[in-house]
Symmetry: D2
Subunit: 324 residues, 4 copies
Amino acid sequence: MSSRADPSVDPSMLSRADPEGAVAAAAKRCSNWGRWGADDVRGTMNFLTPAKRVEAAALVRRGVSFSLSQSFDANGPQKGWRRRTNPVHTMLDTGTDAAAGVQGFPHGIGGADDVIAMPLQCSTQWDGLGHIFDHGYAWNGRRAADVVTSLGDGFTGIETVADVITGRGVLLDFGDLPDGFAITESHLVATAARQGVAIGRGDIVLVRTGQLARARRDGWGDYAGGPAPGLSFTTADWLYSTEIAAIATDTWGFEVRPNEFDDAFQPLHQVAIPHIGLFLGEMWDLDALAADCADDGVYEFWLTAAPLPITGAVGSPVNPIAVK
Amino acid sequence: MSSRADPSVDPSMLSRADPEGAVAAAAKRCSNWGRWGADDVRGTMNFLTPAKRVEAAALVRRGVSFSLSQSFDANGPQKGWRRRTNPVHTMLDTGTDAAAGVQGFPHGIGGADDVIAMPLQCSTQWDGLGHIFDHGYAWNGRRAADVVTSLGDGFTGIETVADVITGRGVLLDFGDLPDGFAITESHLVATAARQGVAIGRGDIVLVRTGQLARARRDGWGDYAGGPAPGLSFTTADWLYSTEIAAIATDTWGFEVRPNEFDDAFQPLHQVAIPHIGLFLGEMWDLDALAADCADDGVYEFWLTAAPLPITGAVGSPVNPIAVK
Amino acid sequence: MSSRADPSVDPSMLSRADPEGAVAAAAKRCSNWGRWGADDVRGTMNFLTPAKRVEAAALVRRGVSFSLSQSFDANGPQKGWRRRTNPVHTMLDTGTDAAAGVQGFPHGIGGADDVIAMPLQCSTQWDGLGHIFDHGYAWNGRRAADVVTSLGDGFTGIETVADVITGRGVLLDFGDLPDGFAITESHLVATAARQGVAIGRGDIVLVRTGQLARARRDGWGDYAGGPAPGLSFTTADWLYSTEIAAIATDTWGFEVRPNEFDDAFQPLHQVAIPHIGLFLGEMWDLDALAADCADDGVYEFWLTAAPLPITGAVGSPVNPIAVK
Amino acid sequence: MSSRADPSVDPSMLSRADPEGAVAAAAKRCSNWGRWGADDVRGTMNFLTPAKRVEAAALVRRGVSFSLSQSFDANGPQKGWRRRTNPVHTMLDTGTDAAAGVQGFPHGIGGADDVIAMPLQCSTQWDGLGHIFDHGYAWNGRRAADVVTSLGDGFTGIETVADVITGRGVLLDFGDLPDGFAITESHLVATAARQGVAIGRGDIVLVRTGQLARARRDGWGDYAGGPAPGLSFTTADWLYSTEIAAIATDTWGFEVRPNEFDDAFQPLHQVAIPHIGLFLGEMWDLDALAADCADDGVYEFWLTAAPLPITGAVGSPVNPIAVK
């Protein structure tokens, strides 16, 4: 795969020593601030219109459905980094209680109830627009300190997109990329071409790197926070210019790790979320869907990825459902 | 509306004093145990086939989408009954921290993360097949003590239907029923006819009683566990014979409360979940969808209601998305 | 009871309209900033010396012990104000599981385990020095934003006094004060005199207003956050000059509510915690101890009130133990 | 150290192949069932009488106090075994919020609040009497299924000993034992003799193996659930006959691991808790206290180890305080 001599797609033109400059330049080129008005809270979800959904519904051809969610349980990848833990699921009532006759219900009815405690970023999830800031500013130019306090996100809480994330999904399957592999615009374009799909306004793009499949086979290792294949910083312009509604990967952190600067932390996030207003999905399980796409050669589908409308949340666990 | 002289639809033929007998009789008439093999864990979701989905996709006409979920926050209806509380959402990182410069990240990036702790039945949710038992038995004839222990549901955990709940939804809008109103088969049939929809195999039926709209207007009161309109015990046969995949209401408890027996607790659950193997949705917010249906006269739609695949959970919060 | 014509003890000399001025003046008079060095994190706990403990040990005469803690369970007083809830206690393993033989342990052993989720201020508790700020400043003059971030209190976390809160306790029993009753220095002095106890450096003072006993009798009502008897704002100077180590009440909020200003929120806290560096205990159950003190006429005792050393916590649940 | 030819102290007389027989025999020899009446819920805490406390108060000589608690935070030893995690501490309000002026309080007051979610066995803790069962029976002969359901322990919840655990503590410091070292009665007796302390009715015995100090130096490794020095199964008779009130160690599991049978799980627990009715403390931090005892040669002290009275809990976190 080749790449153009354009700073937006050629990592060689980035200064490894200056992530701050690169972020600032990309942010300037790719800003959607004000595009949907000063009050906007939905960012690129504005691209996902009813008309796009009508087109996408035609992609339901065989009626087969796929969950793109990892499981939510104690066996997940989290190891405590940024105090993220795996979910803790406990029971309020059980079948053993019911069988022991200790529940106090009449006429033989028994019941079980349960409770979950978990970081919203523990497993398959959406990053909301309040998840990442750039120099103290959040999506659409709001001050981060005004947006996300201990009470949560008072503007762009994930509940603001509760009803909208359903439309056309496109899978770009990269097979099995090694950790540290940076996916560039050229790679994205070539893979889409090879798979026979166009990518455009309002689409939800799914990028499969194969890392989750490896983690399943070899153990979690540093899946949560360690090296991974992922999007190159240089894809910021592609993410912006394609006018996609959202993008998700099968990795912990969406972008390539280590990234393409000497000392940086998730620099592509810093452009994509606060400036483009783009929704990022992480830790999606794309394996079963990818197998089906390989079988039938069709890499587009109807996709619904509805976040739980947790008021003020800066992200949400999600069970995305693809239907072909 | 009239009702037939059939025990299944005529509450006058139930003995108010004998819920146990009524449950046993209905369970016998309506059992799906073994229907999909001894190992089945999906119950009526077996009715929701790919072919049904292909038909349902044609219902996406205008591309408008609706979230059918209440919000998940501290202002919810729970008051502690059965130790169910409203969600507790706390932050691991905030915009105020980012703005104060205390996060320790390089090049101006800042972030926010969060955590949720909540009962899985606290807001809009699915009852899984391990949620209710009859005399110590769970769906498909398994012993409750074998199915749901403190480790959760080892057979019918909600993750077993993570990929399947997407297809045709039908709304039956009853407007504004008073608490204690028992919706019978006659009511269901008449309302479907009036709204011009047929109900059959594999459908997900949504029943709007208007109680949530009242609670929004007047305050929660006893929405969680108090009197409510809902399905009559006598609809068990209709729930069974229509071969629907699932049914959901805008009330806390799906069935009418107080119920139609002198001393009983959720008797229709006791038939529907362990014997029919039916998935019940509760506390769904059907108001915006209902307003749209009243507008365009179309009461059917594409519906995706994907539970979070919390391993071993006996239910799940859900953000159902309807598209018309 | 009379009060002196001193602003510190005469509420009539406070301007009801100027809480900010009153707080500033009291803060200036009562500041302990720098008293124990710029690095100090223990505030008035510095008064509780080994020598004081040796004296206090002589108060163990009959060997009877009292827990001064309310229970920690779902039946507590919290109603969600400031998102404080009652504790949620769930089981990881149960006796019903053990009896059902589903635990998988050898040789007949079975076990039960459990989990708690709770605000640290939900029941009987200590306020740590990071709990309250004055105009952005915390104890000893540190900037609040430097002290307590989303990661917790990096300086004065409750773990810093994990080993120290054991010494002489003194009970001042006011019997049954009405809500809104402001306990002044005069009241404190007179009650101590009547009960035959002196109060001085390093003591832990317990003030029983009777409100908890009323709540037990009549229901919680607005115990958590509503009107209550409590310390007058004017006692700031007494709290300072007596050099006590800590003070606790049987009320939710320590100080009188409504307070003595037209529009103010917990103004005595604003002086006591960040300026005096004083540890405040709230929601202590002093009833059994008070009954014993009334019986034997002895209002002093050995007291241990050890916070859980939750790293970075701004308070802690506590089970204080008095021994007479 | 030598050991007598007594089954109670000579592991060589145990059949490694028959833990069930050994447990049954020890349970028979060491049972306290019925000793304090059929309704008793306090077990060996009945030995800790007011008279014992009066004697113990004389041990407060220098007034120095020690916390025997590990910290409660994300850096603890838990790795998920039995779904035990380290504590998750999150903030409801912060100093950064206060400094940013987003809290909405008047007159410059600001505040911070916090929340904890944790297994009750995650760090320094007491095992309550409902923590372990023998063949479906709990302390005092109650059926485990009657005692501990999903609602918690309805009989011997830790709140039943909320007021009592304060009295004489004795430290037996073994220095630095290797993992797998079984401490026998002979070792206990010899160490007590060497340290100049007698052990008897109502005492709280602290056994320091040195494992925690090693874990601090070398990393947690398998501290939670792996090999460890600890009490030999053969000490059951000593635990019983000394009539101590409680015993605690600096290890995860109190008894030696691997234990002295071919295939067994915590067999000494199975005798000590349900049959002797003995309270076991685990993961106590005895290092600072031990250093002081080595300094002054005094291995006895006043000890208060008050559990949080979490209603129905089968254990509790605790911050034990020793005063010498």
